[in-house]
Structures are given as C-alpha cells and as structure tokens.
C-alpha cells in the first residue's frame, strides 16, 4: 500500500482514511507493507509494516512529510522521486499481490511498480486536483500524473459517486473501471468532554449560544469565505451564535480579515490545527457542524460530527451526503440558504435533535470493516485476473 501520511503526522483526512482502512484490512487477514515517504516514526503501528526510504539524499529530514496540500511542489517531487526508487526496489525483493496507491502523490510510484513487476494496480482516489483547486484549474503537472495514473491503473476506487463522475468526465476514464467505495468513520474513543480546553465556548453555551463548528484545512476548496458570509447574515438575525473554525492553511489570514470586515470577528474563534481530545471536544461542543466545501470528494469530518450527534449542514458538493441523508444540504455558493438553515437550527432544538439522531443512526451503519471487505473482494478479483 502506497500512502503519503499517517496520523499523528497527518495534515488532513487522507492519513486518517489510510490508517483505518489498512487497520481493517489487516483484521481481514491482509499482510500489508505500507510505504511512506518520510522519516516520521510510526513504530507504534503493529498491524502492518510501515516502510520508508532511508533518506540517502542530503535533503532535510522531515519530522512529518511536506504537506501534500500546501507543500512546495519541488520538494514534493524530489521526495516522490526517492519514494519511487524505493518502491521499485521493494517490489523486486518481495512481490505483492496488489499495489494499492492513494492519490496522485503515490500514483507514479504505483505505475512504476506495475511496469516493472506486472502486479495489478489499484488507484484509490480520495481527491483530485480539480477538488483541491476549489474551482480553479489547478496544477497541470498534477493533472497529468492523475490522468496517466488512472489510465494505467487496473482498477480505480473513488470515495464517492461525485468523484467517480468527475474522474469519468474530466479524465475520460471508462466508468466501468471505477468502483465507488465510501469511507467510514472510526468511532472516536472518547465521548467525554474535557471542558477545560474550551472554557469560553462552554460558558457561552450556558448563555444559550449556538455553537457552529467547521473543521478542515483553511483553503479555497473548503468554501469558508461563503461560510463566513452566511455566518454574518445569520448573526445579524440572531446574535447568540458562536462560530468555531478549526484548522490551519494558507487561507487563514484572509479568513481572519474577512471575519473582521464582516463585523463578526468576536463571534468567530480560530483554534488553529487541532487533533486528539481537542478535536473531539469541538465535535462535542458543536450544536451544528457545517461542511462548506466547494468540492469535497468525501468529507470524513462530517461523519465524525454525525458520530458525535451533531446536526449537520453540508454542501451538495460534498461526497459524504451520499451516505448521510439526515442532514440539511445547500449549494456551496448559496449563502442565503445556509444562513436560513443556521438560524432555523439555532431556533429549533427539535430540528437539531432530529437531524443529529438521524445522521447518528446512519453513521452507525458504516464501518471500516465493511469498507475493507469490499477491497478484499476486489483484490481477489484482480489476483484471479492476474493468474
């Protein structure tokens, strides 16, 4: 399995999905060699072998990998080159049954592995460059890698129907080669809130404030400027709102300034990047979780929010809505509609409870075990074809 990051050295949902998928696969009996590009330590991972190049070049040694979303492309390409060499050598020593590559970052290595060994390649698409560009064209080099890799792959797995359609339409990949396997959400271990981390928010909740949270990279793809404008509209109609924006990213400064321009800076709390208990606490404290993405192939955070019995409002452009029906939805550009939804949710506890209940039931039907079973089936098919 070719991946780019694993928690806790992850910058987004990709690492989380890889981790849980691999773990569930291992429970199904799969023997996994998980290749990472970095020197980050994952000694505590016991269910699979985590391998990484020794770092023979003079390059800086990273404690975590360059952020695949914001990292300098030259650095990423250098790292990829080393990664590809490593994968090639690895394949020569121990031939796997299937090579499972996650996203464009590892696709070239996957293609090389297939080319030198003939092992079938699964390209697992969590996001395309069209999604990351948030409405822009994106990087042509990355498009080229994606297009080429998806063509070369023996099988493509997309995390949502929306992503499958996008791949079919933009990269002309035949749709019968693409299978949709939705992500799941790992039940987060703790449901208790350590309120000390968020005393202020806790306090305002006592004063009947409605806490609206969003979690993700602060980048165009996430549609947060629309979110803030809708928040300002909602706030002008109902003042007891507190908006929590958790995450970091290149759009942070712009969003901070926009919240001030809109006159709601005091009602918006930027927490920075959070993980662990601090992340779970946001879900616990939130009355409403918004996924405002312009283009979201899946959207794991929405599932996590649903697990925490939070009412959800998500864009129609988010793949996760294919598995969650108990949500309010809107188009990412429709600020008026989101503002209406936020006010309605703030004013109606029964509405919030109903949504939280429905989505909570739906998310309980999902499991990484089921996801892994689908992959195991697919691996078997590929192996048979190979043989």
């Amino acid at each position: 399995m070719l991946g780019w990051e694993l928690p806790p050295y992850n910058s987004g949902g990709l690492g989380v999905a890889c981790y849980h998928l691999a773990k569930a696969l291992a429970e199904h009996g799969a023997d996994i060699q998980f290749v990472l590009p970095s020197t980050a330590d994952h000694d505590d991972v016991e269910f699979m072998r985590v391998l990484k190049p020794r770092g023979t070049t003079k390059r800086t040694v990273y404690t975590s990998n360059p952020n695949p979303y914001t990292g300098d492309l030259t650095t990423i390409r250098e790292l990829q080159a080393e990664y590809e060499d490593f994968v090639e050598k690895l394949i020569a020593i121990e031939r796997p049954d299937v090579v499972h590559a996650h996203d464009w970052l590892t696709l070239r290595a996957g293609m090389r592995a297939k080319a030198v060994s003939g092992v079938p390649l699964i390209a697992h698409v969590h996001a395309t460059e069209f999604d990351r560009a948030g409405g822009d064209y994106g990087d042509p080099l990355i498009h080229e890698i994606e297009e080429h890799g998806l063509l070369m792959a023996d099988h493509v797995v997309a995390v949502s129907n929306a992503t499958k359609q996008l791949i079919t339409k933009r990269y002309n990949i035949p749709s019968d080669k693409i299978e949709v396997i939705h992500n799941s959400a790992e039940l987060l271990d703790s449901h208790t809130t350590d309120i000390s981390a968020y005393r202020y928010i806790e306090r305002l909740k006592h004063e009947d404030y409605t806490v609206v949270a969003t979690i993700g990279r602060l980048t165009r793809q996430k549609g947060l400027t629309h979110f803030l404008r809708a928040a300002a509209q909602a706030h002008s109609r109902y003042s007891r709102f507190l908006f929590v924006i958790a995450g970091s990213g290149e759009q942070r400064d712009e969003l901070i300034e926009l919240s001030a321009d809109l006159g709601i800076a005091d009602a918006v709390i930027f927490t920075g990047f959070v993980r662990g208990q601090a992340l779970r606490d946001i879900y616990n404290l939130a009355d409403v979780f918004v996924m405002s993405s312009v283009s979201e192939p899946f959207g794991l955070t929405a599932l996590e929010a649903a697990q925490h019995r939070t009412a959800l409002s998500i864009t129609n452009q988010s793949g996760v809505r294919e598995v969650l029906n108990g949500t309010l939805t809107y188009d990412y550009w429709d600020e008026n509609r989101l503002a209406d939804q936020l006010v309605a949710l703030a004013l109606s506890e029964p509405l919030r409870d109903q949504l939280a209940h429905d989505a909570g039931l739906e998310v309980m039907q999902l499991s990484w075990k089921k996801v892994a079973a689908q992959f195991v089936d697919r691996y078997s098919v590929l192996r048979r074809v190979q043989a």
């Binding site: 005393r199 300034e257 005091d266 709390i269 927490t271 601090a278």
Partner: protein, 405 residues
C-alpha cells in the same frame, strides 16, 4: 541677530506586549503580558535600556551639565515607568537625574499610551489623571503641556486640553493643515481661552529621527555643520523650532555605531555658541511666544506615516473590531471595581496592540514589521481577541463571586 529657540521634545514609551494567547488559553490563564519564548517584555526593555535609555540619558545629562542653555521636554508613559520600576531602577534613576536639573520638563499624556480620547472621554481623563499622579510621585513635578498618543490631535482635543487647564499642546506641523504657514511659530486653536500649540517641524525632526543613517539619502552623511546650516537658513522671523521625536531614535532606531550620539554631542554645543541661540522647554516656548495665528485641525492628525493619520492603528477592520470590543467592556470593567481586571483592560488599551495588527505593509509597513513581536498582524489580532474573551470570562466569574459573597 534675532533670537532663535529650539524646543527639543522626546517621547519615551514601552508597551506590555501580549504573549501568544490561543483559544485554548481562554479561561485557563490570564497572564496575557507574561514573558514566554516568543515575547519577552523584560528582554526588550533591557535591550533598549542598554542600547538607548542609559547611553542617551548619559549624553543628555552631560549636555545639561556643560551647556547652561540646553533644555528639553520628555513625555514618559505610565507603562514605561512601570517597566522601569520592575526591570530598570537604573533607568528610572537616570530620568530622575535629568528632571532634577530643572531644565527637563515632563509633558502630560495618557498613562497607557492609549487612544481612549477617541473612544471614551471618561476613561481618557482617568488615564491622564493617573499619568499626572505617577509623574508627581516619581519626579515631583506636574505637567503643564499636553500631548496625546502619537500626537493624535484635533480641535476637540484642543478644547479639552484648554478646559483641563493645560497651557499648550503638541501637534504635528502638517502641511495640509498649515498651508502656507510655518510650523516655526506658536499658534492657538479655535474656541480655546489660552491654549497654545507647538507644532513639530517634521523635516528637521525626521532628518535626525528617520533619515540620519540612511545611506540612500542624498544628504547622507548628516554632519553637525550641515544640520546647523539648515537651522540657520530658516527665516529670522521664525524664532521657534520644535524638534519632536521618539526617544528611541537615539541608539535604537539610529545606532550608536552610525554616530547618532556623536552627532548630537557635536551640533548642540556648536549651535549654542551663538548668543542668540538657546533651547527651551515646552512651557518656556509657550510662555515666551505670542500666537502668530489660529490653526484649525478639522480632522485628526498624527505624527505617523505618510498619511499623518490614525490608519496605522485604526485603518483596517481587525483593528476597529478589536478596539470596539475592548471599549465595549468599559462599563462592566469599571463597575467590577476589580483592580486586576481594570489594570489588564487598560494595558490592552495601549495603542501598540492595534499597531501590531496593521496591514498597510507596502508604504510604511517595514517600520511596523520591525516593531512587531508577532509572526503576522493576524496573529496579533487573534491573541488580542482571545485576551478580550478571557476578560469577559473573568467579568462573569467576578459577578458570580459578588453574588455569592
């Protein structure tokens, strides 16, 4: 030859900077100004003390001792004096020695170097009073001339200072307001009984304060002969030149290695050799000159940046939001009668906090970046807003405590 006087006025200030304060600190700790790895108020104070305060005061004392016609005026903020008391008794003593000569006047201002005048007249007056008391306590003198933070001045301020009994106020001698008139006279303001205005000659001031060691400046290097020749070139009728600058010009903005101290030690005695030349304090300047005209400042003028306005403090929406929410707490804070709450709230009023949020990088921003302890103005804003939120929590806790008591 007719009389020529120089009123040298230096501004001394240090803020209590907010150390990085995240959303997770709210309700957990309230020591917003405590030193940490990134921000150390004590370290800044001691660094500037060694580079600027101590050597400059040595120079000034030497000039006062050797030059009977030398005099100057200082404005020293309350936050600076508190830092002296904590981290620089040597610095405080050196200022006290200056004032003890009787030829160093202290100018009135807000204790916290705040923009309270534009937000709350009540709070503003309280801070001016606090400053007056601090000055009386440490120096045994009572200020008679007023300067507002960053020389932020307008007609309303003139009326206030006049009503409060000040003899004069110091303001920027900005061309847009003066028109054809020269800053080298004493003026008066509309609607005042006796207040007189001292206007900064920004060209001759900034030659020293901003341009002295700029090698790209056509006049570099600035020698005492050259500077005196500029002073002498001024029309004989214009008998008062107000040189106003930040105190840290000496040794901090302009480095000793570039010769700033030698320059001062050279031109001042040399210029004073002429019998008709002398230095005066702000009060002496006001008493010694009749107003040449009335000058009306319709809009607020400051001594900052190319715009000479408050845009470095209130120019963007982050700054406006931050100060709006800070001053909204006034009533609750004052009603709490809690000394620590009032103190922290007032320390947050120091204008430097808003200055660190300035985003007009491209014209004057390099100056701002130099003074900011943070990675970005956005960080400054986040820390400040989080501190306000913590103040709110403390107010709530205080109210609960009162009820249960």
């Amino acid at each position: 030859m007719s009389e020529r006087q120089i009123m040298l006025y230096l501004h001394v200030h240090q803020p209590f900077r907010v150390s990085p304060y995240s959303a997770f600190d709210i309700g957990m700790r309230s020591d917003y100004f405590a030193d940490n790895d990134q921000v150390s108020n004590e370290a800044v104070f001691r660094k500037v003390a060694e580079k600027s305060y101590l050597p400059t005061n040595r120079m000034l004392l030497e000039l006062l001792r050797t030059q009977p016609k030398f005099a100057l005026s200082l404005s020293i903020t309350g936050t600076f004096l508190e830092q002296c008391e904590r981290w620089g008794p040597d610095v405080l003593r050196s200022f006290q020695e200056l004032v003890a000569t009787g030829r160093v006047e202290i100018v009135a201002e807000t204790y916290y170097h705040s923009l309270a005048f534009f937000y709350s007249r009540f709070e503003f007056e309280k801070q001016v009073l606090m400053h007056r008391e601090k000055i009386q306590q440490l120096f045994g003198v009572t200020p008679r001339v007023f300067r507002n933070t960053e020389l932020a001045y307008n007609n309303e301020l003139a009326e206030w200072a006049d009503g409060a009994g000040y003899l004069g106020a110091i303001a920027e001698g900005w061309d847009e307001v003066l028109g054809w008139r020269s800053p080298n006279y004493v003026y008066t303001a509309p609607g005042v009984k006796r207040l007189k205005l001292l206007l900064k000659n920004y060209r001759l001031s900034d030659d020293i304060a901003f341009r002295f060691s700029n090698q790209g400046w056509a006049e570099w290097p600035l020698t005492s002969e050259k500077y005196i020749s500029w002073l002498d070139a001024i029309d004989d009728q214009e008998s008062l030149i107000n040189l106003c600058m930040d105190y840290e010009t000496f040794g901090e903005h302009q480095w000793e290695a570039h010769g700033i101290f030698d320059f001062m030690k050279a031109w001042i005695p040399k210029w004073l050799e002429s019998d008709s030349n002398s230095f005066v304090t702000a009060t002496q300047a006001i008493i010694g000159h009749e107003p040449a005209d009335e000058v009306s400042f319709e809009r607020t003028v400051t001594w900052a940046d190319t715009e000479r306005d408050l845009s470095a403090w209130l120019g963007n929406s982050m700054q406006q939001e931050a100060l709006k929410h800070l001053y909204e707490l006034e009533e609750d804070i004052l009603h709490s009668h809690d000394q620590e709450l009032m103190n922290d709230w007032r320390m947050l009023q120091t204008s430097d906090h808003a200055y660190y949020m300035c985003t007009k990088w491209f014209r004057d921003g390099d100056v701002h970046a130099y003074f900011s302890p943070y990675g970005s103005p956005y960080d400054a804003f986040i820390y400040f807003m989080n501190a306000i939120r913590d103040l709110r929590l403390r107010l709530i806790q205080h109210a609960i405590g009162e009820e249960s008591a």
